[in-house]
Subunit: 197 residues, 2 copies
Amino acid sequence: MISSRRLAEREGITSAQVRKDLSCFGSFGRRGLGYDVANLRVEIREILGLARRWRVAVVGAGNVGAALLAYRGFEKQGFDVVAVFDRDPARIGIRLGTRVVQDVASLPAVAAREQVEIGVIATPPRAAQEVTDLLVAAGVGGILNFAPRKLFVPAHVALRTVDMAMELESLSFALARARPPRDGSPPRERGARSARA
Amino acid sequence: MISSRRLAEREGITSAQVRKDLSCFGSFGRRGLGYDVANLRVEIREILGLARRWRVAVVGAGNVGAALLAYRGFEKQGFDVVAVFDRDPARIGIRLGTRVVQDVASLPAVAAREQVEIGVIATPPRAAQEVTDLLVAAGVGGILNFAPRKLFVPAHVALRTVDMAMELESLSFALARARPPRDGSPPRERGARSARA
DNA sequence: GCATGTGAATTACTTCACAGCT
DNA sequence: AGCTGTGAAGTAATTCACATGC
């Protein structure tokens, strides 16, 4: 068993936050005792939609694609990479993880046949929107974008973007105010909150 | 010139949000006209701390490290990778981007000498905390973590973590509720908001 | 007329604090 | 006694709406 207080300490939040958040989805604890860890794990996986497995296609077999395929955490968490695509003939046919890289031209047919539900964009920025459109047309419900580019998707498609430059800019912001330049410039305005993670 | 309304449309937020956010840092627009794009760009770069350059060290010369070094956006945005480290002798000495990979054993000395301000963790999870401690000891003010692991840093060090598994879980959550299973299970509780990006 | 900048109103989120159960 | 689940209270973020200036 674990209490909301201990969970909160682990995550750096308050115990009330833990209880309120969980209460959005049900009552998983027992008064006086706390939460059964094994059961809570199952419940949270259910909430996150991880009780089932998801079929993922990775587009782009460069460094980012290779890094993704090398990461064993995916299948462990319930994500099966069922296809990998690239446009470069030099990359088509090579094995990446457990999959052989296919020509992106075959994406529409393969993605439909393999019932791909999530697409991962690991292409250069210029190809990202085009690939996104192909994935959406093939019926994916979600896209994870590693290309540093704003993507447009229909409202019914979930989109998350991981932009390394943006993360560094966030650090830059935090550092710039944590260690202000030592000239005589005045302090910053009200409301300037920390950008610490 | 550009109006807050047009900026808002581009970003999918409200115009009031654009104006309020900018007003936290100053008055950059002209009533009746909007914001001068070139000037606004300079002001935002100043706010984000991008008016200067930052000295970055990358630890881990695997796929993630290679992907980072291959990304030209860094130096363009003001981040100079001044050192790359790895523990694997097979990787030490090879060139990655413009840098030669050094032994992580030399990190304390090199990071101090090179005045590294931001450290990027691209190691396997087990090495991540150890490397973090080395970077903190060497005086970095911020850490960008790509290892799927919770890191502990002193309060004065800014930390951002990019966890690919977490991003996929977020998509899973969004998809699971967007396309609920077609058994007879009851609808979810109140307050269940979309996790769309 | 057009668009900013900002108090006021609204909405959302977090924390408090306690009834109720173990 | 210990801890959850949750209304109530408190804080923070967003949106409204308008005085102010171009």
